[in-house]
């Protein structure tokens, strides 16, 4: 058996050199001084694999379109086995990546490992840091919730401040017309296609250079016999992976990553706060106002990056023992202190974003979950032939706006005004004035407000009997004694589930003569004409049971 495996391996190795390559990699010579302080680069590589793995998994169930993105993410975290965990791993993984890359750079800076001939390795490292930040920036938008939206609005504005190129950057990010479908698609493409490809490429070059020049030895270790990477240092690396992985896993499993309400471009009360690792930039911005803004937003960060890139050319002294690198310690310490101060200041001065007060009731999946008022509104929508100019969900474009995509920006009052006097509220609106009663308009407004991109398609089709039933229910003011789908007064029994408990005949007889069934009943008799009776009975039968 062993023999056979050996022969197969030899055969493969002979043709691909695979085994030899792995061995070369594992048995690389490293200096005697290598140890725990050199694990960070490997951890970053490990985290990159975790991010790629969880990212691909997320993509399997993610719809890259504004609106849908939000709903599919909601579906991932609430319906799919392990979905919440995987999103957690991806989210916290990105934060840990920033931390680990930071530590890696600090280690290299303190030890002076960027010195000749390793300048190019350092420069690639700085570029990789920028890529990590770009991942964070683009990934932040993808949940398409309120904070994703508003944080990106700020990002885009800053990009627009860049002298000379601002306009082009905006164009490239699809942000010339504000944050919308184009921005979203650009960010998505950057996040899942371009940045990963670039990162892999630069990482390979970076690792190639690390191996070409070898791990930096401390001055003392020069001349000492070398060690092999495997298994001693490999063990240390792996233990470090494990520690980071446990931390990541615990974070993902216990700390919920927030998913706020669907992005709401009309929510002017929202104060966005970026991810923690961008807070220092965010705080810096506050010190510069008006035309100086560009200094904080663009010039300083650019200078900082240039300074980072220049580090190996500024410090060209001979390699010293770490104990003697006081200046390096001082500089790194200062930078860290500055960063920390800015971050803390940002935390203290920006309140945790609060969702706007307009709380939305849980979205109705289909017409059975609408309240009777909303369903009656759907009936008036039909009767008034609103569909001639408006789609509920995206579809063949019509003259008026698609209601599901605009309704969340409006209030009931606004809609009422608009119904009664379209062109006054929206100048130039070709919509005819609606001449139906205020009561009916209220229903219509309630229905329109209930629309979301997620349910609008389902609400396009509502059986006639249900609409008719809801109108009868509404006009007969059943809601003054009964609750349906959480709406109405509670003096009478709730009606969800009545269709499962009673037969149609029973319901019909009960409408005609409630006292026949319960002499104490205070319900007045309703002798609807046959068609109406049938509609309301069918509607009652179709209501979802209370538990649903």
């Amino acid at each position: 058996m062993r023999d056979l495996i050996r022969r197969i391996l030899d055969w493969v190795d002979h043709r691909t050199g695979f085994e030899t390559a792995v061995k070369n990699f594992l048995y690389e010579d490293i200096p005697a001084s290598s140890g725990w302080h050199q694990v960070f680069g490997s951890i970053a590589l490990f985290l990159f694999f975790v991010q790629a793995f969880t990212g691909v998994l997320l993509a399997f169930n993610y719809a890259p379109q504004p609106g849908d993105a939000y709903h599919s993410l909601q579906y991932i975290v609430s319906e799919i086995t392990g979905g919440r965990l995987i999103r957690g791993l991806h989210h916290w993984g990105s934060s840990l990546m920033v931390v680990v890359v930071g530590l890696h750079m600090i280690q290299v800076a303190l030890w002076g490992a960027y010195k000749k001939p390793r300048e190019a390795t350092w420069i690639l490292g700085v570029l990789l840091l920028l890529l990590v930040l770009a991942f964070g920036l683009t990934g932040y938008l993808l949940p398409w919730d309120n904070r994703a939206y508003w944080a990106t609005v700020v990002t885009i504005q800053i990009a627009g401040l860049v002298p000379l190129f601002g306009e082009y950057i905006l164009e490239f990010l699809g942000g010339a017309e504000g944050v919308g479908v184009s921005t979203f698609t650009r960010f998505y493409t950057l996040h899942v296609l371009m940045l990963p490809a670039l990162t892999v490429l630069l990482m390979m070059l970076h690792i190639h250079l690390v191996r070409k020049h070898g791990v930096t030895p401390s001055p003392r270790a020069i001349g000492q016999p070398k060690k092999k990477f495997y298994p001693g240092q490999a063990f240390k690396d792996l233990m470090a992976f494990f520690a980071v992985f446990i931390l990541l896993f615990v974070l993902a499993a216990t700390v919920d990553v927030p998913l706020e309400g669907l992005a709401d471009p009309s929510d002017s009360t929202y104060v966005p706060r970026p991810e923690w690792y961008f807070l220092f930039l965010f705080q810096t911005l506050k010190f510069f106002e008006g035309r100086w803004e560009v200094v904080g937003a663009v010039i300083l960060p650019t200078l900082a990056v240039l300074a980072l890139l220049a580090v190996p050319f500024l410090d060209r002294a001979k390699v010293k023992r770490i104990q003697q690198r006081t200046l390096a310690f001082a500089v790194v310490g200062l930078v860290l202190a500055g960063w920390l101060a800015l971050t803390v200041a940002a935390f203290l001065t920006t309140p945790e974003p609060v969702e706007s007060a307009r709380e939305t009731s849980p979205p109705a999946a289909d017409w059975r979950f609408l309240t009777p008022v909303e369903l009656a509104g759907r009936a008036y929508f039909q009767r008034e032939k609103c569909a001639g100019c408006h789609n509920l969900a995206e579809g063949e474009p019509k003259m008026g706006p698609t209601l599901a995509t605009v309704s969340h920006r409006k209030s009931a009052e606004w809609l009422m005004e608009h119904f009664k006097n379209p062109s006054e509220v929206v100048p130039g609106s070709p919509m005819p004035t609606m001449t139906i009663s205020d009561d009916e308009l209220t229903c219509l407004a309630a229905f329109v407000l209930k629309l979301t991109p997620g349910n609008a398609t389902a609400l396009e089709v509502v059986p006639d009997y249900a609409m008719r039933g809801a109108v009868i229910y509404h006009e007969s003011q059943c809601a003054s004694c009964h609750v349906v789908n959480g709406s109405g007064e509670e003096s009478g029994p709730p009606l969800n589930g009545v269709g499962q408990r009673r037969t149609a005949q029973w319901l019909e007889d009960h409408f005609r003569d409630p006292q026949k069934f319960d002499p104490q009943s205070v319900m007045p008799p309703y002798d609807f004409p046959p068609d109406d009776m049938k509609a309301i009975v069918d509607y009652m039968k179709a209501l979802p049971p209370a538990s649903e």
Binding site: V50, F53, T54, L57, F60, N61, A63, D68, H71, S72, Q74, Y75, E79, I80, T81, G82, G83, L85, I86, K228, P231, G232, A234, F235, L238, M239, F241, F242, F245, F249, A365, D366, G454, N455, T457, A458, E460, V461, P463, A504, K534, D538, K541, A542
Partner: protein
């Protein structure tokens, strides 16, 4: 290397730990991934909803008709309503609603009055009025919807394999 016993036992320890820890990490990533990619279908999902397939009072005896109706479909994060059909036949004993897919490879079939059978054009399976296979490669009788009538209206539930379904 490996000559003195102490360094060789340390080496073995390193190797064991490396294998152990990397398998542990790999397992804690792949197990959730499998659950995520192959979610166990939640019981009754998609079957829960009953759909109103329309008025069947005018349905003649022993003459299959194709009813078209709107059916709610839960597809991932989206709930949509789509047009759907069922072949419905009223026999002396019961009212049967067949799923409109051939049990062979899923083509749509239709009723042929001349030969008095359901015929699938794809690979020429034939089924009797009550769904039994008369000819062709179809492996089992036509699938039936769970049914329920309310007044004149026919309501359809999930598709049930034939053995469990006895009509109303």
């Amino acid at each position: 290397m490996g000559k003195d016993p102490q360094s060789s036992s340390r080496r073995t320890f390193y190797q064991r730990m490396i294998y152990g820890v990397s398998s542990l990490i790999a397992a804690s990533l792949t197990i959730p991934a499998v659950g995520y990619l192959f979610p166990s279908r939640r019981k009754g999902d998609g079957q829960k909803g009953w759909t109103d397939a329309g008025d069947v009072s005018a349905l003649p005896l022993n003459e299959p008709r194709e009813l078209a109706f709107q059916r709610k479909r839960v597809d991932g994060w989206k709930t949509s309503t789509e047009r759907s059909t069922a072949w419905v036949v009223r026999t002396e004993r019961e009212l049967i609603a067949f799923s409109p897919r051939c049990t062979h490879l899923g083509c749509g079939y239709h009723w042929e009055t001349d030969s008095d059978r359901f015929v699938c054009p794809c690979h020429t399976s034939g089924f009797s009025m009550t769904g039994e296979v008369l000819e062709g490669p179809a492996p089992r009788p036509l699938d039936r919807f769970e049914t329920r009538t309310e007044g004149n209206r026919l309501w359809l539930g999930g598709v049930r394999p034939i053995s469990e379904n006895g009509g109303q």
